[in-house]
Symmetry: D2
Subunit: 442 residues, 4 copies
């Protein structure tokens, strides 16, 4: 690599950007970033300016020779990049609000990365990510694509199957959040906690947990039944697990598993809270407004603590750690989304999984686990089936594939309701789904 | 084999028995059955006498030297058997009625072989079938076990994993019913129709359909969207499929798939019909009463046509065809439940699947299909996960395993409701589930 | 299909053609062939004329309306074909003689389908078969390719991996010969004998053997140690197996397995017989000369019995049976070379295997066997590795790949000798290997 | 673990022991060993005394509180052990000499861990290691078994399949030797070199090689063709690879691959050197004699440099590093023999492989590689088939299985020669193979 590392962040106007900047500043000694290109689209220009200027003030305060470039020209930015991170949101939070609202009308969970919402976020996002891949092939073929954009598992699957970019990693803060939550519940320093992660994005399990190398899984399972140790995400309601169920499972679920093992309670809660506080997108819209108000302040030259409420805790941690380990061939263990390669037996080699990997200069190498416990193989496969059908629909714009993806999702109760939601959501997101509307519905 | 074939039918007092007798009579020329032992338990003695005497009159009318033995002594019957067929029902129709009624209280589908009802039928049946296997090992180690008892897939899985009997076949009339339905819908003779069956019991798909060797799959898919061609079972409400969904799937579902792809409609229908006509078990109880009234008639010496309403159409066809093909090494193709052996890629080799097999004297040999279409792999795996956890719970009497089986079933909405149903159903079926009550709940 | 079936035979001037003609005549009632196009190259024109005229006399004698076309124009022939059979030999028997002679100089077995000879036959044949596939895609995309051309396994592998033709079957007379040999050794009618075949071409095993549906494997294994029951091929020296070895294996090897399990004896025999009678190619050259002398006789209008000495016994049987079963959707069981599809666990789904299949109108469907016995998995994999590397070398003309294929062949003792043989054989076959000589050796 | 770590070394009288002692002394700060029990058999008592006293002097010189126990009572030693290392040799070097000499009479390579010699070393060793496992189950069920005893792959396979000990690791110095050799050939510090190891014991490949995280595979492949960079073992003749062959393979072979890819040269060399210098065992016998002469010297209190000639360089390094990483949950990467668990696609999950693993307190976790390159899958499978048949023969004492193992070994030319060697070697090792002689040969 040239004189220093060139980072390109697609969706650079995101409110998360200060986290990322902070992460690079913190690691500058071993990870000498020389340029960060924040890329956004026309609509996001104003936010890009605000957050970009904050980034510049942060770098200046740190006294580091990192150039912050702000641009609406993605191709210019990608030229000779070393790492490309993606954190964009096609259709912005308005689209997310629709993903959340419309399903609720049909008594179906409306959520950003699961169910009908996850499907539509995928349908909107995948064509854009594949365009980026095509640009990368041409402009920076040796760069790593580090994707934060949700649904990160489905997006990684799509890149692995439908692009020529093989250097892709999907990132999520769920595993790191679980590790932190477990450490807190056990009252130990997080550095002493190891979790054997395996599964899919937002469907990852802790197969075992160690403190100082000794399994404490049973202790953690007991703690999970305790409503005070919710170990959940900002955007997920934190019902406690039935202790007998988790004991029977013998592994640690992630917060998102509640959508599948507590479907009725989650739906009831969503309906309630959307009626009172608004859906999560609507809450976030307000949070974002407040954040950008803060960011605008020319005196601010560090990441404001209020950002933590936004929900993306540890995202920067995950991304900067990953980039650092790749750059420096650290060979440490991190849970990321990567090509399976036989690491989980019942999933195709070429599919994306989320699993503990050794991070090398050649990218993540998954640690083989044999197979998942019998009890969860089915659900994991079902979500993988859903992700693959959704990715295929996103790429082809095939109405029938989209209907199949919608119907086979475990949160959707019938082909009839699937079709109604599909039709309403296609119409609602029409502008962001050209692949479904360029031709007459077949 | 000795002077003729010895058949033993466990649950011989069943109303289906005349079908079976008719099947053996029809095939006598190539399948020389010399003894049929109808075995039942004390409680079923009266029905055994009625149906046994009808069987004797049928044989006598046919003028064949087949001895019909009636006994309550299973071990005496099994001695030196050539084929053992099982069609018993632990807890009789009363137990089935509970399996149907209790889940409905929790807004969950109550059905004999799916969801909570399927789980409990499995928990009651598996210990008994494994006892029969132990007796067979000792008394007729070379005999074939032909199991009709539902849930036939889960039962076959349990025999394959937890007994030493390797000569086991699980039978279901769903595939043959699909073939007949398709023939009828297309207006062609059933003998001209070939269906590529693959999947699990009550979760079997027609991957392709041929008439005279030419694929007519698209025609059949179109017909499936036509409410007049329901191709369903007597015990399943026949909602038409959404044509776009089936077209997207590109394969032919079976009637039971409605529970998974039309969950809400099926639940609504069940609630409605159980409130008006009673559950299926309650309807069947009346049908059975009427049938046994008929069977009692000493003038009756053929299978009465009223039996067809009972729902088991083609069961005798399936069983007698299978036995005939094994006995005569016919090497024809029949869809049965057998050890996977790699025939379906994403299912363990040692698990039971329902698939087209070549039937040889050494038993069924599955035809390899590579893998199921992506869209259905997930659901199939989920049912297999459920079946395996249920079988493990049945064998161990482990409360936690049973709770996991219940919760991971796709028809159950949460761990909380799963636990409530489990506790109520365990109590309701207490008498037939000694394995869960012999020791203190762990 | 039109008014009748159109068969195209590439390499129609072969001495085997009368067998094929006889097979079609015999089956005319159910397999109404209306045209047979015999295609050959310039060099083979004379033989084509001779054998073509014999074919016409045979058809005339049978009184059947089958048109025999003789042509050097392959594309004209392929137009709208229903079945294309291939039995050509690139470089003719001269090339085979080189394949047999050159390795012997290095103390390595020289054989048509194994070792260095098999490699070079593949290198010469595969580019031609792939050209035929490209023509078929254009001129008869619905036709079946029935390949007899050796090495049939490697050729089928190449078609499956490097062409768009999916309707391909590889054929060999080894399995049928084994069945016949076993029947003879046991003194029973071949129709009563069933063999569970599985493996690769010229590396197929009988996993079990049945007479009237009863296993007689142990009897057959005993017979194999008896030098009078050699069950071998005309072109393979018939050393008896060590009875203890075969008993330990517990399965029936084919004649070609002697090259691998009796390498030293086979080599010694080859050296001896090539020094006295000439190599097999040289013997065959004389046989062919005699045969064509016979064929020339205008009085001859049936297949002469002398053809049987040639070694291709049952090839016609195998080919015509296969075509008949495909055409009539017979769903009988035949051992052929087809896509694995999971039927043998340790071989890739997309590779060619030789295995018992149900023959349907849609082609062969392999019967799943789980996995081969542990003892033979290794050798089978090694031959598959060899076939794949050879096919890759044939397609790419890559010298290094060819060297790897040569070296990893189990009959070749070292990289050094491999290279010497490779270099000498490349030079000797230069004319028939343009892919290796069009560019400078990389 | 108690007050310190208890190490038990079976075969403690080995000349390698000072290496091991030195390794523990060097790592004492993080690996606080309190007891080392050196166990040997009666015959080895004198060597045990000599080497044990040297060990005591080494510890004393280091000033560490490590107790050295010498005993002939294995069970006493095993009680409450933390790590059990095995480095015994059933039949001593005399047996090895026979393994080397007898095959040469049949023109077959005689080698300690490959071919007939490897088979017989396995047949002698496996019953003893399984006895040790049974003792461990009873006396130290939580201990780790770290096996150095050759053939380490076959022995690890046997422990995984035929004992209840799951905490087993097989160790070899080949990978570390390759890494060192590569570093030397490239002229860089070994710490900067990373190799992606995968395969089987003594059949391991370097799939890629990195210096400072950058692939230098092509450079290494070029170096391999250079006779000065042999990268081989003390006990293996160092012929240079054909550069074109290795370039075609595209991966780095280990020294033992010469037996398979240079069979004729290796055989010729063995015959030559055994005729002049004696076989390796005979050379080693003299080396050992000299070493023990040195060890006897009461002034010696460090590992003498002459030990390096013995051939086991880095064994101590490998063993102590492994034990250290397990004890301290280091999660670094080491190549060891462990359960496959899906890491290499074409090998059964439950078989032993040699592969890069993350070493945790719970043992090694293999890094998934998908599958080996096509070119080597065959040979690897063949060795695995051999290892499995050999292990089965060792456990059962079944003559036929042993004959199959012998015949399918790639170095053995025929069933006939296999049988002759088997019979002669069984007789020669009779005393150490009770399982084959307790009953009449079946
Ligand atoms: Mn996430
Ligand atoms: Mn059924
Ligand atoms: Mn052949
Ligand atoms: Mn070693």
């Amino acid at each position: 690599m040239k004189n220093g590392i060139k980072i390109v962040t697609i969706g650079g106007g995101s409110s998360y950007t200060p986290e990322l900047i902070e992460g690079f500043i913190k690691r500058y000694d071993e990870l000498p970033v020389s340029e960060i290109w924040l890329v956004d689209i026309n609509k996001g220009n104003q936010k890009l300016e605000i957050v970009g200027n904050l980034a510049r003030r942060m770098v200046e305060k740190a006294g580091l020779p990192i150039d912050i470039h702000l641009t609406l020209n993605r191709r210019e930015a990608l030229k000779d990049a070393d790492f490309v991170t993606t954190q964009f949101r096609v259709g912005l939070l308005d689209a997310r609000a629709k993903d959340e609202r419309i399903p609720l009308k049909y008594d179906v969970i409306g959520q950003e990365t699961n169910g009908p919402g996850g499907l539509f976020k995928g349908l909107r996002t995948i064509p854009v990510i594949l365009e980026i891949c095509r640009d990368m092939e041409e402009l920076c073929p040796d760069a790593w694509l580090v994707n934060f954009t949700n649904p990160a598992g489905m997006v990684t699957e799509a890149v692995l199957r439908y692009s020529n970019i093989k250097k892709v990693v999907g990132l999520c803060n769920v595993p790191i959040g679980m590790r932190m939550g477990i450490a807190k519940a056990l009252g130990v320093d997080p550095d002493r906690v190891q979790v054997d992660f395996a599964g899919l994005n937002h469907m990852v399990f802790g197969l075992d947990v160690y403190v100082d190398g000794k399994s404490v899984k049973d202790k953690v399972i007991n703690a999970l039944g305790n409503p005070e140790n919710e170990m959940t995400m900002k955007n997920i309601a934190g019902f406690a697990w039935d202790r007998d169920f988790i004991k029977g499972m013998g592994i640690i679920p992630c917060g998102y598993h509640r959508y599948y093992y507590k479907t009725d309670e989650m739906l009831a809660e969503e309906k309630e809270s959307s009626a009172t506080n608004g859906t999560r997108a609507e809450v976030v819209q307000q949070l974002e407004k407040d954040l950008f108000e803060l960011y605008r302040n020319p005196e601010l030259n560090v990441k404001p603590t209020q950002l933590e409420k936004r929900g993306g805790a540890y995202y920067s941690e995950a991304a900067c750690s990953l980039i650092n380990s790749i750059y420096n061939d650290k060979r440490d263990i991190q849970p990321v989304n990567t090509r399976n390669n036989g690491a989980i037996a019942s999933i195709p080699d070429e599919s994306a999984i989320e699993i503990n990997c050794v991070i090398t200069k050649e990218g993540p190498r998954p640690i083989a686990i044999g197979d998942l416990p019998v009890a969860v193989r089915g659900l994991v496969q079902q979500i993988k089936s859903f992700e693959r059908m959704a990715a295929e629909a996103a790429v082809t714009g095939d109405y029938h594939k989209a209907l199949v993806a919608m119907t086979i999702n475990p949160l959707v109760p019938s082909d009839t309701i699937a079709k109604k939601m599909l039709d309403e959501m296609l119409e609602a997101h029409k502008e962001d789904l050209p692949q479904f509307f360029n031709e007459v519905k077949s």
